[in-house]
């Protein structure tokens, strides 16, 4: 059976069932998923929504690089990585990763690696919009990370 690498940056609502169905296989015993959802607060300030922006073509390219790295490290079957852009209301999914494997350890570890890698390597940005009308903020996943990318 051929392995699937599905990557997507989309303005549409992310469909968890569709993504897990896509990675599910008769020869797989495990599917692990990670769903990033919009939180309603940041340091005590109420968040009404997030706005995501992507360098779409490069983002999907980087997601494919992450798929390649996963396959070199973990014994997985199918991989799906989807990121939503535009406005994402509180509680909805901004990112979904779903990975299948014959044995559970591989998909569990691969999903963990994948979300860390997405947050570090995929050119997507989020702006937090606050309920109190204070200046929306462009977030940074971790200080200095992006700068260090250029050395990789």
């Amino acid at each position: 059976m051929l392995n699937l690498d599905y990557v997507s940056v989309t303005e549409k609502h992310l469909d968890l069932n569709a993504l897990t169905d896509m990675v599910g296989r008769e020869d797989g015993g495990a599917i692990s998923t990670f769903i990033g959802t919009t939180r309603n607060s940041f340091q005590g300030k109420a968040v009404v929504r997030l706005e995501y922006e992507a360098y779409c073509t490069m983002a999907e390219k980087q997601m494919s690089v992450i798929c390649d790295t996963i396959r070199k490290t973990y014994n997985v079957l199918n991989i799906a990585i989807a990121h939503r852009i535009g406005v994402v209301p509180v509680r909805e999914a901004s990112v979904i990763i779903a990975i299948s494997s014959a044995h559970r350890i591989d998909s569990l570890e691969a999903v963990h690696y994948a979300i860390d890698a997405v947050k570090e390597l995929v050119p997507i940005w989020k702006k937090e919009v606050y309920a109190d009308g204070s200046e929306p903020e462009w977030k940074e996943n971790c200080e200095g990370c992006t700068k260090s990318l250029s050395k990789k």
């Binding site: 922006e53 990112v95 050119p123 990370c145 992006t146």
Partner: protein, 87 residues
């Protein structure tokens, strides 16, 4: 600038807001480092000064090391990548 080339320049997120545009084109030396490229860009867009130390640069959708010597071709796509916050 005999060895100058015209490249596309993309801005995203905070750098897009500061630059006031998401895309422009700019004349740059054919061979240069990322650091030098950023200096040239800041000359055109001084409002990027506060973020220039925190951005990365991608050429044709690949991250580039800051001190790597780039060889650019007309039409290459240079992107300013502010700190990522996807996920």
């Amino acid at each position: 600038m005999t060895d100058a080339v015209q490249v596309r320049l993309l801005f995203f997120a905070r750098s897009r807001e500061l630059a006031g545009t998401s895309e422009t084109s700019i004349q740059v030396p054919k061979t240069t480092t990322v650091n030098n490229l950023l200096k040239i860009i800041v000359k055109h867009y001084p409002q990027l000064e506060p973020v220039v130390d925190s951005v990365a640069v991608a050429v044709n959708e690949e991250f580039q090391g800051n001190s790597v010597e780039l060889t650019l071709t007309a039409g290459d796509i240079v992107a300013i990548i502010p700190p990522i916050s996807g996920g």
